[in-house]
Amino acid sequence: MMSCRKSCNPEKQTESKRSTESACSRRSFLKTAVAGTGLLAGGCGSGMSGTAEKMHLNWQEYFKGNYRLMTPTEKEATVSRLERLAKIKYKLDVQISTREPVQQVLFGYAFNISRCEGYMDCVAACVKENNLDRKSQTQYVRIFELEHGRMDIASGNGKYFHEVPVADHFYMGVQCFHCESAPCIKACPTKATWREPDGIVVVDYDWCIGCRYCMAACPYWGRRFNWHDPDVPLGELTRKQHYLGNRLRRRGVMEKCTFCIQRTREGRLPACADACPTGSRVFGNLLDPDSEIRYVLKHKKVFRMKEELGTDPKFWYFSD
């Protein structure tokens, strides 16, 4: 996989370079035209003003490639542009990381349905960590309240708001399951979503065209669509971001749980697992036989949702 990527990338890039060189006259014309207007707007000599700089950066952003085909320098360039744009727009210093997956790591998640009490601390933590749009009340995690003995999620109540836990009920959290054989990836017409080597299914927000095919393909309702430009209180904005994670999404693109890629690639727990007051959420490396997640898989009765579909999710439910 890695070797293929290494060997394939330069080829593709040279290819794309060649194609841009041959069919670039219109682009270069436009580029110079815009730069010219930018200079005019910014006044001569004294460098670019805020709006002109923003236009210039946005212009360059518009022509960048798919994240997977970017060279490290291209990644660095786009990150610095995005950080600068955030500075201009929100007057905030954000750090956007492009940290690569850790070798020999495959992330997995387990959820204890006999421990969860339905407090929804995880939901709140996720909204805050991932800079989710407050206006549309987007949430990646949903907790269903089910009667004892019921196993069909459709009979659950996903919008409860009363004192919890309720007697004779249990709680079941649902989010993106990061399937190994993910239908959303297969459905994407622009290859804007893929599975990273550490198992996280990610979206390139700048490559997504917002067709929502993936949303229709996902049997778990794991994906969310941005109906608005992000509406996040600036004081609550998480500034430590990842290119494939919690950076601010534009209107009209898909997003979803990324196992908090900005945290987990640094060795930290995802925000939901960190916030859980009952310890119902277990997260770890599936390739490490000593990890907690492997202990759960080995010693507990586990099941996965809609396993018969063959999506091979990396999210298990278990009970004590």
Partner: protein, 212 residues
């Protein structure tokens, strides 16, 4: 004879065809279930990753933790230190050699403690867990002193299943990091030892209807 031979040939052709189809079908099935699906990848990963996973951003165990007096499947682990979180530690400041005889001392000093540990009409006595002689320590059923930082040793006497799960990783929580030195929360970080059952409360937030 000729007819027989012909039919034999036909049979052979038929057999080989069916076996071919069967093989193809099996192959397709194999591909469908994916021999590098998650379960197979997990089963293949029998040994700890050869080069120990090193992530530069993961710190050593937090300073306020202490090495557990036991090990888990992956070796040593650490637990959160609890003593400094106890408001009036050391207990011997009041509970010295002499018996404290102050009016309403119990209400003043420990009025916040409500004993809801154990069955409704059979609550545990203070002495069940607290060392009668040396108040800076807990005591096991066998009368051995247990440090407040190693409270899990005490809880595990009765709640041995939970302790087993806690050691393995199916109960309780790691602090902050999935990687690096494994550091767990102590039992009393989440459970009030005097009233261990989680209280009913309102959820932190709510979810809007899906069809909105």
């Amino acid at each position: 004879m000729k007819k027989n031979r012909n039919s034999e040939k036909m049979m052979k052709v038929c057999l080989s065809l069916t076996s071919l189809i069967l093989l193809l079908f099996l192959g397709a099935c194999r591909e469908h279930t994916g021999h590098d699906g998650v379960t197979d990848r997990i089963k293949a990963a029998e040994t700890k990753p050869s080069d120990q996973i090193q992530i530069d951003s993961v710190p050593l165990p937090p300073a306020k933790s202490i090495r557990a007096q036991m090990s888990y499947q992956g070796g040593l682990f650490w637990v959160e230190a609890r003593k400094e979180k106890i408001g009036r530690f050391q207990c011997s400041q009041c509970h010295g050699n002499q018996l404290a005889r102050i009016d309403q001392a119990v209400e003043l000093a420990h009025g916040d403690i409500v004993n809801r540990h154990g069955a409704e009409n059979k609550r545990l006595a203070c002495k069940t867990c607290h060392d009668d002689q040396d108040r800076n320590f807990l005591t096991s059923a066998a009368g051995e002193k247990i440090d407040f930082d190693h409270g899990y040793q005490l809880c595990g006497q009765c709640h041995f299943r939970q302790k087993q799960d806690w050691i393995g990783g199916a109960h309780g929580k790691r602090i902050g990091y999935w990687a690096g030195k494994r550091t767990l929360l102590n039992c009393t970080a989440c459970h009030n030892p005097h009233a261990p059952k989680f209280a009913k409360r309102w959820p932190t937030t709510f979810s809007p209807p899906l069809n909105q």
